[in-house]
Symmetry: C2
Subunit: 459 residues, 2 copies
């Protein structure tokens, strides 16, 4: 019955009920140990435009059918996994993209991937500053999840770039919020509320993104350290120096070695057990050299070893590739990855607290993260699930408690999704949860949109 109605809206071809043909849509990149299980009765629907999205949502709202909006499926916290019988709503066919050079904006439909966006923008000689990891992510999902990434130090997260959205409410109305606008104070900012709401308040069908002129030159430095604390201590001084790097990443030796091996590459640093990777950009080669020199001097004062400086695109790409591949190379042995963030200068203390947790549970917790913005990704390994001295849940809760003590947050860039809900009480008091539930009800009176993500689902 419902399937027939869905076919009337999007056409026969775009409603899939055969489980085998929807297998890729039942999962995301969450580590296996904590990944939610998909429901059994699901229909996968692929609308072509916001009008069809509206039709699907009206139908679902009328018949109280759960709807799970889905972008590239690159999430790490189960936010897109369809955990109840209902509709998987894939935005993949919304592929329109336009670059408005005069206003330095991209107008992209939800299903445009990060890769496609970057290509299109670069074709026009322009630059889209944030780069939140996996390039198969889709822009609708990037906005819905307020994705972050390593370049946030200089350029901020997705929220800073989204200037307009088109979004369909669970009740079917199409909202056009913001626009090609750099300033907008007309009433409560519904757009900023929808950004980061992980597909629970509305389905984003189009985004307007701010672009920048291309930067002339860049370099990627790797500074090795023998002692982690020295690496971390150099960071505030770099940030205060007047240089604002695109990225300041911290990586430990275990992580980069596993990743290099996985890629069949060689990690280019012979020395050190802890690394800062710093990306700088500037108006000229000279500017870049001067920045690298100043950073080298600061790092040297903090006992940094001889830095490696990648200038060519190829050299820089190799380092970045090893950095980007850490998660997927660890994944096989990973029980869960977490995404805490603290005030940047407290990163060292946070790492020490996590070392103590690791010691208590007799495990190793490799850590890498965005040292420049205080966002850390400790990797909880499978032995935590298997060993006798403790378990994953308890260790994770202890890490969260240490994070709170340092004024930190549960998730810096990945979102709550489904897997973080059980521990959210550590970070959000009753009143805040109540306000969030109230807002959810205003947007989605029947609770059909992505149930169980962000807001606890009772049924």
């Amino acid at each position: 019955m419902m399937v027939k109605k869905l076919k009337d809206i999007v056409g026969q071809r775009w409603v899939i009920t055969d489980r085998e043909r929807m297998i890729d849509y039942l999962t995301d990149e969450t580590a296996a140990s904590v990944k939610p299980k998909p429901a059994s009765e699901l229909a996968l629907v692929k609308p072509a435009n916001s009008k069809e999205v509206s039709g699907i949502l009206k139908l679902a709202n009328c018949e109280r059918i759960p709807v799970f909006p889905r972008g590239g499926g690159t999430g790490l916290c189960g936010g897109a996994i369809p955990t109840k019988d209902g509709i998987i709503l894939s935005l993949e066919r919304l592929k329109g993209i336009e670059i408005d050079k005069d206003n330095l904006m991209a107008i992209a439909e939800a299903g445009v991937t990060l890769k496609e966006l970057v290509e299109k923008v670069e074709e026009q000689g322009l630059f889209f500053p944030p780069h939140p990891g996996d390039e198969s992510a889709q822009v609708g999902g990037l906005a819905a999840c307020n994705a972050g990434g390593s370049r946030a130090v200089k350029y901020g997260v997705m929220r800073s770039y989204v200037k307009g959205i088109e979004a369909v409410l669970p009740t079917g109305e199409v909202l056009k919020l913001g626009g090609e606008l750099l300033k907008n104070n007309t009433g409560y900012d519904l757009m900023h509320l929808i950004i980061g709401s992980e597909g629970t308040l509305a389905v984003i069908t189009r985004v307007i993104l701010r672009l920048f002129p291309r930067v002339a030159a860049s370099a990627t430095m790797v500074i090795p350290y023998n002692i982690r604390r020295d690496a971390i201590n150099a960071v505030p001084e770099i940030l205060q120096s007047g240089i604002i790097p695109l990225a300041i990443e911290y990586m430990d030796r275990i992580s980069v070695e596993v990743s290099s091996e996985h890629l069949g590459l060689e990690w280019p640093c012979k020395t050190g057990t802890a690394y800062l990777m710093i990306i700088v950009e500037g108006q000229s080669e000279e500017d870049i050299h001067s920045q690298c020199e100043r950073i080298s001097r600061i790092c040297h004062r903090h006992h940094g070893l001889e830095p490696l400086i990648g200038i060519t695109r190829k050299e820089q790409d190799k380092i970045l590739k090893i950095r980007s591949n850490i998660y997927s190379s660890l994944k096989r042995d990973l029980a869960d990855t977490i995404d805490i963030a603290v005030p940047p200068a407290s990163m060292g203390k946070l790492m020490e607290a996590i070392d103590r947790v690791a010691e208590r549970y007799g495990t190793t917790i490799p850590m890498c993260g965005h040292a420049g913005d205080g966002n850390l990704h400790p990797a909880l390994m499978k032995d935590l699930v298997e060993n006798k001295r403790g378990n994953l849940k308890k260790a994770k809760r202890e890490i969260y408690q240490e994070t709170v003590k340092l004024g930190g947050t549960m998730t810096g860039e990945h979102g709550l999704g489904r897997i973080r809900i059980p521990d959210v009480d550590i970070f959000l008091d009753k009143k805040r949860l109540e306000l969030m539930a109230g807002i959810k009800k205003v947007f989605d009176p029947n609770g059909i949109l992505n149930p169980g993500c962000i807001i606890k689902c009772d049924k």
Copy 2:
């Protein structure tokens, strides 16, 4: 009765009921012709901290008394004017401020003025990028109204700098949202919802603001033009050039002359009837010179006349002072100032449309605005109220309709306040107003907080 209870909360001294002693609290900087009238039965209360704010709000919520939170009273749309009998809640005694150099953050209580913040930040060798006009504004109000200003081209508006807030709900609970954090995705972003809500959802008592290292050098250029369109046409090319100026302001000759005269200064440009004022900053004098030269070349191609370049602080301050004083010098003859914003490249079309409105109504509409971010402030003069061929309301509505056609918004930086509510239907459809009213209800079930601001007040 209520006054006695208020005195119990904040102390005898901090409850004022004598009308003469509260006269400054009954107004703001809105133009006289459109300024709302204050109510007659008011108590002015000056709490010392968020605990006292909570006490006041609990009492008011219990007894259904309207509360009007108030910062520096520098608003331009009547948002802080107490239009119903009730309580004026001034945050002026919340004066604590701390600079966290390691994290590049300022933690400031709501009553700290912009002037005090800037001084304190500069004392520490740091920089707070946005500068939304009047320095007697208070940081709580700046966050509550998501203030903008001319430096938004490079650095964005207040929203980009607020990383944490403490806010008291109308029901009395104290929320601590965000923190010294650069990334935070833990649930719906209540902080971003409160930013720009103009004191209608919660009373902000403290803000955490991101700071930057001080920039080494800056310059302020003025480029005169004989034809406005030439000035405006140069802007997109400057923005695409790879230089990102702090500010690109447009001013017409009438405005700068009235302002210069008012200040007893001489406008330094002998030529031109239309001006771009551009502020650039950089790492060195050389960098600045090179930026100015590139901008000059672009402007020259667009028929700009000989530019004036201010390098010393004194020269730059003089130009800025004339720019900043335009509103107050025009104010005597002003009926209303508007705050529309459009995609930056449409600024020229918007101005032409406004010229046509001026012609239809037989008036002159001086215009200045933030050409780099598309935010324009046309000045509607008193003759519009007085002349026979039309009236203020009609002309304003026509300007708004032209703004909508260009994909624009009703208010870029000033907010809706009270005075824009009658025309808000041009910009916000029924569903959006319904969502906003729903959100208001979640935060403020009894509608006691700043009634009549943003959300239409039926009573």
